[in-house]
Amino acid sequence: MASILAQSLTRCYGRTLAVDHVSFEVDGGTVLGFLGPNGAGKSTTMKMLTGYLHPTSGTALINGHDIRTARRQAHQVLGYLPEGAPLYSDMRVGDFLAFVAAARGLGRAEVRESVGAVAERLELTGVLKQSIGTLSKGFGRRVGIAQALIHDPPILILDEPTDGLDPIQKSQVRRLIQEMAEQKIIIISTHILEEVEILCHRVMIIAHGKLQLDGTPADVRSRSRYAGALSLVVDQPQTVASKLSGLAEVKNVEFRAGKLTAFPSGQGALATAVQALIQSEGWVVREFHLESGRLDDVFANIAGQDEANA
């Protein structure tokens, strides 16, 4: 079973503290999303997990192999897509993949087999003979993912795997991640909230080098002030808003972009009370939506808080 154990990972660049005592544990079958603003420490954390950067203090165990002392064994079970998917633009796709496979210790026959298999999986068979520098961005990213997958590693670390891709390519990459998610540990970093909602079983929000929040997307959503709120689209928002504010179940009402949102006060069932009011007043309601909380709201809160502290 795949496992990652990060113990107080800390990293300084000169005097700047980029990652500050980040600890967590992940088991197989998990897609973990690192979420955070630019420069928050997501990439630095990934670089330490993959052994590209030495931690200033703390360490990580990759399948039990200490990244500081058993780097080679750890690398053997990892697949890594660095930020921006850097590749060797002079090499041909097939040769590059064969190089990675051989460096991973596969024998000659296995190399050929695994290059064929991964090329088929990522629809690269047609460009194997092409030079990497001539590929489009979407193909380039797929080559980057292909090299991470070539040895079918139990742990995949993908730094912004869908960044810069068009919507169709984005959904292809997401589908691929979903397909692989069953046994593996997959860590992705992203700024895209919908990606987290679709893909991740677990979310970590990192800001200013600190782990701010760790939970399921539902956990994170429930921290949103929108959790349990009710959104309405009605014909006379002013009247409705003032009546709604009168309910004991309602804390306050906001009107934004044609939508009324009633936030729960915590007393009684908000939806039932509002429904009863709608019926007794005979309002025309065009939309009625119970909010489950918004990730972006939590994210903005944490990131914003952090800016205020800085």
Partner: protein, 244 residues
């Protein structure tokens, strides 16, 4: 060792899929032959040896070897591919050695392809082929030392132009270190004992002996030791970059 071979193969692909290898080989062969015949007076001397061929190698290497060496690491760091390479299950030594040996192999291929001049001299006269073999070995060793300097410098910067100019400058200092050009300023600042040590480090002195067929153990140890020290420096630089 198998992993080092994987690395060498990858580097050779980069040389031969780009104009690097053909350009290097052509320029090396054209330049070394032209200098042999037009400046070295190969025919005019009427001596059946290859001294006119070998005497220009230091000067050709002075800029051709840094041109090969500058990209070894700078390019990896500039493009970000270093991150890919150094997270593969290869040890840093395997990567350092693989890159070095691949580049040295390219230079060695250039030397091998100069064989027509060896045939020519054997057709025209009766040269001492042992001397010629020793000179080839000396030339390869000196190129190896230049290359180790360039590789180590390349690991310190992600700018290839800086790597090239820095390597040329340091190679020049090593080449000339037995000459007044270097010894005089050193003598102004440092005691005589330093001057004596530095005068022993001249590539030119060690190489000219080998090019004339004097295979001195001291020169052999000097070049190999220097290459070892510089490659260790290269390795240390890569490790340091992970920590800084």
């Amino acid at each position: 060792m198998r992993k080092t071979n994987v690395m060498i193969k990858k580097e050779w692909m980069a040389y031969f899929y780009t104009p690097i290898a053909p350009l290097f080989l052509i320029i090396f062969l054209v330049l070394s032959s032209a200098l042999t015949f037009y400046v070295g007076g190969f025919y005019e001397r009427e001596i059946a040896d290859l001294e006119p061929f070998f005497q220009f190698h230091p000067w050709i290497y002075l800029f051709l070897v840094p041109a090969i060496g500058m990209r070894l690491w700078s390019e990896e760091y500039r493009s970000g591919s270093a991150e890919l390479l150094l997270t593969l299950p290869l040890s840093t030594w395997e990567v350092v050695l693989g890159k070095y040996l691949a580049a040295l192999g390219l230079i060695g291929l250039g030397l091998l392809l100069s064989f027509p001049i060896w045939i020519t001299v054997n057709v025209l006269g009766d040269p001492d082929n042992g001397v010629i073999l020793g000179a080839y070995l000396g030339s390869l060793l000196m190129a190896g030392a230049f290359l180790a300097i360039s590789a180590a410098i390349s690991a310190t910067t992600s700018n290839q132009v800086v790597a090239f100019i820095g390597s040329c400058a340091i190679c020049f200092v090593f080449l000339m270190s037995g000459m007044p050009l270097v010894l005089d300023p050193v003598g102004q600042i440092f005691p005589q004992s330093w001057v004596d040590v530095i005068s022993q480090m001249s590539f030119l002195v060690h190489y000219s002996a080998m090019a004339r067929g004097i295979l001195d153990l001291k020169s052999l140890v000097y070049f190999l030791g220097l290459i070892g020290v510089l490659l260790t420096g290269n390795w240390a630089m890569i490790e340091l970059r992970k920590a800084s």
